[in-house]
Symmetry: C2
Subunit: 257 residues, 2 copies
């Protein structure tokens, strides 16, 4: 299994605090030592860091922890391999271009009977997660186009996710840089931080942050994770089958399939 | 204009020395301060770093200079913007997946009359370089498939490059992780280092390396750049219209159009 982390914010915000907590689980407080990756959108561009080494001891992870990269949407993943060897090509998140935007995906889970239909997008590595991502994009490309309203795209995503979740574990983070789609098959939690901001303490590292000193009163920043990252805040736990579409830090559509 | 750098090697090799030289030209010894990027293949995977900030003062560039990332094919670019604003989405190299492989491209130049035909791959940013890359991949996807022999793919690439070079400046680095295609419209040089290895001194920084202490006798490492990076080695200058296909550090096909 793996752990997921995403952020949606209404202003460019860094992920240093949450990333520090998550990456400790990559070989230190958790067993997810088979690589890690993170994608930060900046406008339509996306900046990715991938490393097949454990995040807890990665030099590049250390830079991402300490060098604030500001983003409105970010997706991060730490891996404990099951399907697919430990190598760079199997390291989430995965990226493809569709309709002139970069789409980024990270997935946690495993399906028992998934066999991808050949399509335009092909996996480069050998994980079922990347094959699922390609199958989702192939479906969207066939059924929709760049003028399709977000609501209709989300209907397709919910249908696909619901189908996949019937076949196994399927927790998904997917973004096109504008919105962030999150689907919980077994485990996901979120928190939305807004004024008045307070302090928070990581569970996995002896690190505290006072968000008030790092934000303005208008900031809205949401974090979505597999397991809550802080010990002194109340996280909102997703139910199995629940999905939420995030935009600028807030849930703009949601449901339970 | 921009500067290009690529490496092809028969064993995973780091790019620290050459990258250090090139990145000084990004705002220090040269004017290419509008961002930089580098892609390192590791097997079929690819690890990219992009930054719209000047490479000479980038914290992430510093990590890439000092943290050896070993690769058999790498492509790097430092940018001096002409078409397209300074932003992450306009920062080379660009990546797309085709036939289950990541294709990476960096380009230097400008075409006067290029207007891309809509196709499967679409640019995300606003550079003509990314539009050209998409046009090349759209052409290959239409005319070839994943079983097409490399020789035939290269014929297509040479035809396309020759056509583009007629319309302006078109210096190109393109790789699918297996081979590296290089096309010189105006300026390109290469060097192949093999045993007996000797020392080399950068032009752009007070840095010397003794390759003998960093290599084994079987290593073959070639570096391809816009302008030679060292002051005490003999570089092989491309003629205008010349192309070379590199694989495992050596030229495996070449010609002049």
């Amino acid at each position: 299994m793996c752990e997921l982390l995403a952020m949606s914010a209404n202003t460019p915000t860094d992920l240093c605090f949450s990333f520090t907590g998550l990456t400790r689980r990559g070989g230190e407080t958790g067993p997810h030592k088979d690589g890690w990756g993170v994608a930060f959108y900046e406008g339509k561009g996306v900046r990715c860091f991938h490393d097949p080494d454990p995040s807890a001891s990665s030099r590049i992870a250390e830079v991402v922890q300490t060098h604030p990269i500001k983003s409105e949407v970010a997706i991060c993943h730490i891996r404990q391999a099951n399907v697919g060897g430990v190598c760079l090509a199997n390291t989430h998140p995965f990226t493809r271009e569709l309709w002139g935007r970069y789409w980024v995906c990270a997935h946690n889970g495993q399906l028992s009977n998934f066999s991808p239909v050949p399509g335009f997008y092909e996996p480069v590595g050998t994980t079922d997660s990347e094959a699922l991502f390609c199958a989702i994009l192939n479906h969207l490309r066939q059924q929709c186009d760049k003028t399709t309203p977000t609501k209709d795209l989300v209907d397709h995503l919910v249908d696909l996710a619901t189908g996949y979740a019937r076949e196994g574990v399927f927790n998904l983070l997917l973004s096109n840089g504008d919105w962030l789609f999150t689907y919980c098959s077994t485990k996901m939690a979120s928190i939305t931080r807004r004024a008045p901001f307070g302090p928070a303490r990581l569970k996995d590292a002896d690190v505290m942050v006072d968000f008030e000193s790092e934000t303005t009163p208008n900031d809205i920043v949401s974090v979505i994770v597999t397991e809550p990252l802080t010990s002194d805040e109340t996280w909102d736990i997703y139910r199995p089958g629940e999905w939420r579409l995030w935009q600028r830090g807030e849930v703009v559509m949601a449901g339970c399939s």
